[in-house]
């Protein structure tokens, strides 16, 4: 029996010792920094009386209800706005298509705080669209969510749409179906799993929305996530916070289960075509449709970003100036911000770099483990890896506070706390970027290397790593962008004298005075630019790559 041999071949049903060695470090990381802290919250929240109070308290019930319906409406709005856009970007060949596709992705990776600030600048007092009266309205939250998640639909649904065999719809047309019926009867059913997947992700993001609601929702509106933060940070009621977290966690687990089911159906056997074969040059009415969608994208996605930049240059007395930007390098004594905004930028970059490094190591090992096996253990591991993405960041941050503050692991005040929390959110992105690329590496290449004398480790080094090198860079870019903008966990964990940019932005937004607002806009602009640069660097490298993101 040649048991060693089997380790070199492709995905195997069995679980070997080598696989366990590969999966152990990421599993341990998750156990210590995710399962344990979240478990600690669950343990605190599992106080029957506290849960009962939460469930019966009319105020808190209102919060739960608001969380639910704003997420549902946000999802519906996002789908309505983004599905035509997904179609246009998947099917129409026009000049600048690649650039538009890349730009559309930008909002998704923007820090939620920046999105909040942008819409505040746009709709709030003194903003260009203040006349609409949407300041602190639910509509503002919904539009901001649509802005945020437009790319999710374009990526998930458009990704499939771009490869759907157009001959299927043509066949239906030849068989007598009108254009609309062909779409309804053929294309839509084929897309349904992707739409369901996109919808459930968007719903999840909106359900756990924190930064956007905190900044835009006004003092009276709160999602569960925001309420947990208020109960913890402002009211110091850890018991209620834990109970709320538990309610949210239950909802999230249910959502993730629905999403996983949609994903499995999506893996059905579709005849997919290369995207180039599917593209058509739009003409006639198609042209008008294309133009209408491009205008919508520009309005929905472009205006808030531009207005953010514009607000950062607005002078307090009207007109424009550099006052907000000049104030960035000064640290005002007695302000809630103990450091200058530039120092906050430095903190952000340092933390994000550390988080990216951790996410690459942990996510890289995990991706190799997941891609190598198809067993139940490997699939379960895959789901476990995705959980932090679905769990609210506030829960994670709060969990760190109550679990990692005493022996055996006392990390209070450790500089590693923030990067570790950010890495937790970034790791799933690295895994999702790497796994499809690793899976697409032909087994035969590994076998060829083995028969040419490459040991299993050298197969990884000589064949797999070079082939996934670009994907690693893409994953690193994602991890960096997400870590940079992470707010929900960081706000709990960053030491008061070492805030990150998003934390500083929110502190400034909470202060009165036009200079604070202007500074917040300027800092958001910096965060925006850094994130966009990171994303564009990625986009340049992911042409032709397989990815689930």
């Amino acid at each position: 029996m040649s048991g060693v041999a089997s380790t070199t071949a492709g995905p195997r049903p069995g679980v070997s010792l080598g696989w366990v060695a590969l999966a152990l470090p990421p599993a341990a990381f998750l156990a210590v920094f995710f399962v344990w802290p979240v478990g600690a919250i669950v343990a605190q929240g599992l106080d029957g009386a506290a849960v009962a109070e939460v469930v019966t308290d009319p105020g808190l019930r209102g919060v739960a209800w608001f969380t639910l319906w704003q997420a549902a409406l946000s999802t519906a709005l996002t789908l309505v706005l983004a599905l035509p856009g997904a179609y246009v970007l998947a099917r129409y060949d026009f000049r600048g298509r690649r650039v538009v596709r890349a730009l559309v992705t930008v909002p998704f990776v923007l820090p939620s705080v920046v999105v909040g600030a942008a819409f505040l600048g746009l709709l709030g007092r003194g903003g260009p669209l203040a006349g609409l009266g949407l300041d602190q309205s639910v509509a503002a939250v919904l539009i901001a969510h649509a802005f945020f998640n437009y790319a999710v639909v374009v990526r998930t649904v458009g990704g499939l749409w771009a490869h759907l065999d157009p001959r299927l719809e043509e066949a239906a047309r030849v068989l007598g179906a009108t254009r609309w019926r062909a779409f309804r009867r053929v294309t839509l059913p084929l897309l349904r799993p992707a739409i369901a997947a996109a919808g459930s992700i968007v719903f999840l993001f909106c359900f756990t929305s924190f930064g956007v609601v905190l900044v835009l929702g006004g003092p009276t509106r709160a999602t569960l996530e925001v309420e947990v933060y208020r109960q913890t940070a402002q009211l110091l009621d850890l018991r209620t916070a834990a109970a709320l977290t538990l309610v949210q966690l239950a909802a999230v687990v249910a959502l993730v289960a629905v999403h996983a089911r949609a994903q499995r159906r999506r893996a059905g056997s579709l005849r997919l075509r290369p995207a180039d074969e599917v593209l058509v040059r739009p003409r006639g009415r198609q042209r008008s449709f294309l133009v209408a969608n491009l205008v919508l994208m520009a309005a929905l996605l472009g205006i808030p970003i531009l207005s953010l930049v514009e607000r950062s240059f607005a002078a307090s007395g009207g007109g424009y100036g550099l006052a907000s930007w000049r104030a960035l390098s000064t640290s005002r004594r007695g302000s809630t911000l103990f450091v200058s905004p530039l120092e906050a930028l430095g903190n952000s970059l340092t933390y994000a770099t550390g988080a990216t490094a951790i996410a690459l190591v942990v996510g890289g090992l995990a991706a190799f483990a997941v891609a190598r096996h198809t067993s139940l253990a490997a699939r379960g591991f895959d789901v476990l890896l995705m959980l932090p993405l679905g769990t609210s960041a506030v829960t994670v941050g709060f969990g760190f506070l109550i679990a990692l503050d005493r022996p055996p692991l006392d990390l209070r005040g450790s500089a590693w706390l923030v990067p570790i929390a950010q890495a937790l959110v970034a790791t799933p992105l690295v895994v999702r970027t790497l796994v499809p690329v690793l899976r697409s590496v032909d087994d035969r290449l590994k076998e060829a290397a083995a028969t040419l004398g490459a040991s299993p480790w050298r197969v990884v080094r000589e064949v797999e790593l070079p082939l996934v090198g670009r994907a690693m860079l893409v994953g690193a870019g994602f991890a960096f962008a997400v870590s940079l903008g992470e707010f929900g966990a960081t706000v709990f964990l960053a030491r008061p004298d070492r805030p990150t940019l998003p934390v500083a932005v929110v502190r400034l937004l909470g202060q009165p005075g036009p200079l604070s607002l202007g500074q917040a806009m300027a800092m958001s602009t910096i965060l925006l630019v850094v994130t966009v640069v990171a994303m564009l660097a990625i986009e340049g490298r992911r042409v032709g790559e397989v990815s689930e993101l």
């Binding site: 029996m1 040649s2 048991g3 060693v4 041999a5 089997s6 380790t7 070199t8 071949a9 032909d442 035969r444 290449l445 076998e447 060829a448 290397a449 083995a450 028969t451 040419l452 004398g453 490459a454 040991s455 299993p456 050298r458 000589e462 064949v463 070079p466 082939l467």
Partner: protein
């Protein structure tokens, strides 16, 4: 003994035995072709020899040494895949030099050997090319060069010509044959094409449903197929008959069948066992003629089915002609049903 010995090898995937108790020996310097329809287990057998599939039972030895505990990278066998599996991130030279680097050869020696092997396959001075824009034939040559470069003790070829179009196949087949001959390489070559197997193999092993049905030189197989499956797979016509008291009788007449038990039997009517004879009782119509140099394979539709008859090109009948076919009893092989 020297060379490869496979003994009682079984490879199971769940309930399916892809390879089912196979015995096979390949002498040093010999080229053996594994011939069989797709799904017969020939590729699995090859992969098990390479160490890429774990045997469920049985032994694989090289020069008498059991390979069970040897992982693929320590077997020093070369394997060439049907779709070549060239490394997309490496250029031609780096692909060919891969195995040499794995053996830890110094850079300069790698370069020398790579140039040598590329010359051998007619790809000299093309080492810098990216494998992405090689033609099918060029990929095949590079894949062969890559497998040959580390001078493997055994070369395993898994349908290496299968992905190519017919003209290219035939040309590369001749080249491959010459090359294997010149290098004296020990090789196992998997194919479903009998022409390929007969052209390359010193011996041919015919496989069916995970078992080796017959092993022999091409001539032996052609002369005396051991089973009806082998005969049919080689494209020979098998006609049903009945044996009684040492004689087989059927639509072809009566032929001696000494030593066969009474009962149903099959007679293999090879083209060279048949000749055209206007006086013969077996009659039919010429439906096709395929030229093979100075001879013509004439296909005749008769009451007992289509028969191929080999005829001197100068004497070939025309399509539509009515002909008689005489059977040479000495060249007919009788198989028990």
């Amino acid at each position: 003994m020297s060379g490869l010995e496979v003994e009682g090898l079984t490879v199971r995937f769940g309930a399916l035995a892809a390879v089912d108790g196979v015995d096979l020996a390949v002498d040093a310097g010999e080229v053996v072709c594994l011939l069989g329809p797709s799904g017969c287990g020939k590729s699995t057998l090859l992969r098990a020899v390479a160490g890429l599939e774990a045997p469920t039972a049985g032994r694989i030895r090289w020069d008498g040494e059991d390979l069970a505990s040897e992982p693929p990278h320590r077997r020093r066998f070369g394997l060439m895949f049907q779709d070549f599996a060239l490394f997309p991130h490496l250029d031609v030279a780096a692909n060919v030099g891969f195995g040499l680097r794995m053996r830890g050869l110094p850079v300069r020696e790698v370069a020398t050997r790579v140039a040598e092997v590329l010359d051998l396959v007619g790809m000299g001075s093309q080492g810098h090319r990216s494998v992405g824009n090689l033609s099918g034939g060029e990929q095949q040559r590079v894949a062969l060069a890559r497998a040959l470069a580390p001078a493997p003790r055994l070369l395993l070829l898994d349908e290496p010509l299968g992905a190519l179009d017919r003209t290219l196949r035939e040309r590369l087949l001749v080249e491959l044959d010459t090359l294997l001959d010149e290098l004296g390489t020990t090789a196992v070559h998997v194919t479903h094409d009998q022409d390929e197997a007969f052209a390359l193999g010193d011996r041919v092993a015919v496989m069916d449903a995970g078992r080796i049905v017959q092993v022999g030189t091409p001539t032996e197989l052609w002369r005396a197929p051991a089973t009806r499956f082998v005969a049919t797979f080689l494209g020979l016509t098998v006609v049903d008959g009945v044996v009684r008291a040492g004689t087989v009788s059927g639509p072809f007449g009566r032929l001696p069948a000494a030593g066969l038990a009474d009962g149903p039997a099959g007679a293999i009517l090879r083209p060279d066992a048949l000749r055209l004879d206007d006086d013969a009782d077996l009659r039919g119509t010429v439906v096709a003629a395929r030229f093979q140099g100075d001879r013509v394979a004439v296909r005749v539709t008769t009451a007992i089915g289509d028969l191929d008859v080999s005829v001197d090109a100068a004497l070939a009948p025309l399509r539509g002609d009515e002909v008689g076919i005489a059977v040479d009893p000495a060249r007919v092989v009788i198989l028990p049903a």
